[in-house]
Amino acid sequence: MELKAATVSPPESKKKSRWPAVKKHRFYYYLILPGLLYFLIFDYVPMFGVIISFKDISPFEGVRGILTGEWVGFDHFVRFFQSYYFWNVLRNTFLISFYNLLFGFPAAIVLALLMNELKNGLFKRFVQTVSYLPHFISTVVVAGLIMMMLSTDNGLLNAIIVFFGGEPILFLGEPKYFRSILVVSHVWQTVGWGTILYLAAMAGIDPGLYEAAKIDGANRLRQAWHITLPGISHVIVIMLILSIGGLLNAGFEKVLLLYSPAVYEVADIIDTYVYREGLTSLNYSFATAVGLFKNLLAMTLILGANYFAKRMNQTGIW
């Protein structure tokens, strides 16, 4: 009996002891409240809307339409899977995102490693600032810059080609160049911002390790390889998992602003497909079904990446 009481009591006391702490620090909890409310109101409540992907709704009946629409099961999903462009938009989405990850993800690490080696503080800050700046430029402006740079009329790149005797190339109208343009501009825009976390992690590495390595005769490349990289590996893994979670976000705005029928074959992604079907053609239910499918894929990816990361080196988000 006593034993039973003893086995039961610890969780109770634990439970009891939590509330005074919460009460004591209640002001900190109040501070979390706006953030929680934000996610609740803007991220969780709207999730209710996903039910329209299983219904046929009239787009102009608002919330009433969501509630009263006829249930159609998985019809909209089946229609998407049977769509002539299903594999095309899926392939484009994966490829553009994959290339962004393949080139953009290591680029930030390499740049951070290079910046870490800079000894001149002023120059280092200058490089950091210059590399961060593109992050703050709006996508519309970036698309405008790309169009101007690549124009066959007075575009910088074509001017160089013509100067060396070549023929101007319609870069944005040629399927073979389009994805490369997206990826290069993505790397340019994100590489500086991506270094922030890595530089912060590098600042936390014990300087004694570098001194010991120097005494052992390690040059700077060896130090970067054997000390810096392992020192930030946990951050790299977490960033990789998060990046894989966002793998299906292939950069909707930029694609929408730059693509044209000439390059649909390599540029049309799930998001642009949803945009055309949903907002332009008013097939809200169908567009929601496609969006939901994309989110399920993204969730599978992030869970998969987390699982493998934990299996490999015990680091994960959960």
């Binding site: 706006p34 787009p59 102009f60 229609r79 124009s151 009329d153 944005l172 000439a262 053609s281």
Partner: protein
């Protein structure tokens, strides 16, 4: 020990409690305020919000109408009116009609998307421009027969029966106020000063047109010593509507196959392949602008003084060219190449009368006020429509009340309340101002001259878009495939030898369903 420490800390905290609680309350209030601002701003730009707030004071029971201004009236001043000029116009309507107009200005380039969001939300929107056949079947708009009969006699008189036919469904319900008539929108414009300089005649045939483009390309007509002339500025709609008729019997139109009496897309019509071949040849030779099928700015291109011809939407020349003409060398001019023909006849295809009109939403609280408001602009033409378009910034130059000019080139009122834009009002006046004259002349003398073009076979058939969507689930895919492959063939990305494979692709994407549904509706609905 821990408790006493906690008490001390709590005592300290108590001192700050008031400040912290206030801070938290402020945070919550700030979020609430942001949320409120967000919903208020949903579809309502600053200008119209200010006007809304300002004029609701003391307006009492006066009916309000919410105008979604997507008619194109704001093209003259896209940033919108100066607030006091807008307020002045609003006061004028309130005094004259006892109706308070409130304008919602959509973001440029996303007018359709924003409208669809607004219609699906709780925000008020009473009248907008759109295709009635898209909105009527979804229950978003109301029939106008009785309202027009009671409050819109001037509107009814202003438009010919032909225009009303396109606004009426097969049961006789009128769903909108017309915006246009069957028109020609894609003439070929040619630089007349270059023709003269190179000693060329205005072309009459497709071969002569090609010869002129060749001469423009090789003859350095702008005399800058560089081979940088762009013989033709165009786009997808441009080649389809301005040139296809020369190769395809029915022009840019669905085709009724005499073999089986079925409606088929133009891609299957005889001559379409020849059309593609000629366009691809022109593109390869550099006659068609390299970026024609990507995104480009026609105004910027015209500024370069390198464009020899345009086969784009007519206003690319009538509106844009006069604006930049003073900055171009003296004598520069564009004129329409008339009576152009190809092996299959006239080059140009007319735009069928469409279903675009001013529509009144189901959630309009004062539909009578909306029709009264629009009807007022159709009264005493063109005075009231000019007021709606230009405010007080215009005057007549003759007794016939036809020629006008703007009092100041600086526009203060942009046209937010203009709901009478359309051919019925636009050809009731003309600008003497050279910058606006070219456009007015086109509207007055050219646009309805449909005899200059081929009329689409099913021009009078208003297809039921909802039924099309239901019965042809791949409709969007087919549309994408058709525009995408057209561009690929013309630009040479895909060789013309693959044309049969392209037709196979169309079949795989659901072409047969498309043919069946269009054929069924065509035979049911043709008048």
């Amino acid at each position: 020990m821990l408790e006493s420490w906690t008490r001390k800390v709590e005592g300290g905290i108590m001192m700050k409690k008031f400040a912290q609680t206030t801070l938290t309350a402020m945070l919550v209030l700030a979020i609430a305020a942001c949320g409120g601002g967000g919903s208020g701003g949903n579809g309502t730009p600053n200008g119209s919000k200010e006007a809304d707030g300002g004029s609701s004071k003391g307006s009492g029971e006066m009916p309000k109408i919410y105008i979604y201004q997507n008619t194109g009236a704001l093209n003259q001043k896209p940033e919108g009116s100066v607030p006091d000029a807008l307020e002045e116009m609003k006061q004028m309507y309130m005094e004259e009609l006892g109706i308070e107009p409130i304008a919602i200005v959509p973001p440029k380039g996303s007018e359709g998307e924003k409208l669809n969001l607004l219609l699906g939300s709780k925000d008020q929107v009473d009248v907008f421009q759109g295709d009635w056949d898209q909105y009527a079947s979804k229950g978003a708009i109301i029939p106008l027969n009785d309202l027009l009969e009671e409050h819109g006699q001037d509107i009814l008189k202003a438009w010919p029966q032909e225009a009303w036919d396109y606004m009426t469904d097969k049961d006789g319900t009128i769903w909108g106020i017309p915006r246009g008539l069957p028109s020609v929108h894609y003439p070929v414009w040619i630089r007349t000063d270059w023709l003269e300089k190179l000693g060329l005649e205005m072309p009459k045939t497709i071969d002569e047109l090609e010869a002129v483009m060749k001469a423009f390309q090789e003859g350095d007509p702008d005399g800058n010593g560089k081979a940088d002339t762009i013989p033709m500025m165009t786009d997808i709609n441009g080649i389809n509507n301005a040139l296809m008729g020369g190769f395809v019997e029915g022009g840019n139109s669905n085709w009724l196959d005499p073999a089986d009496n079925k409606i088929k897309p133009v891609e299957l019509a005889p001559g379409y392949r020849d059309f593609l071949a000629k366009m691809a040849d022109w593109y390869q030779k550099g006659y068609i602008y390299k970026e024609a099928f990507a995104k480009f700015d026609p105004l910027e291109l015209l500024k370069t003084n390198r464009v020899g011809m345009s086969s784009m939407w007519y206003s690319r020349i009538t509106l844009l060219f006069p604006q930049i003409k003073p900055n171009l060398p003296e004598g520069v001019d564009y004129a329409i190449a008339r009576d152009l023909t190809g092996p299959a006849g006239k080059l140009m295809t007319a735009s069928r009368g469409n279903t675009t009109g001013m529509l009144v939403t189901k959630k309009a609280k004062n539909p009578e006020a909306v029709i009264k408001f629009i009807n007022y602009q159709y009264k005493d033409l063109p005075t009231n429509t000019l007021n709606a378009a230009f405010g007080k910034n215009w005057k007549y130059l003759d007794d016939q009340k036809f020629e006008i000019e703007l009092l100041s080139p600086e526009l203060r009122y942009a046209g937010e309340y203009m709901l009478s834009l359309g051919l019925a009002t636009e050809n009731k006046y003309a600008f003497r101002d050279p910058v606006k004259k070219m456009h007015a002349d086109y509207l007055n003398h050219e646009i309805t001259n449909v005899s200059a073009a081929k009329m689409p076979l099913d021009a009078t058939v208003v297809y039921d878009k909802e039924r099309l969507k239901q019965n042809v689930p791949m409709l969007e895919d087919l549309d994408r495939l058709r525009s995408e492959e057209l561009v690929k063939f013309v630009t040479g990305v895909r060789p013309l030898s693959e044309f049969d494979q392209y037709i196979e692709q169309l079949n795989k994407a659901g072409l047969q369903m498309w043919i069946d549904e269009y054929t069924k509706q065509y035979h049911e609905l043709k008048k």
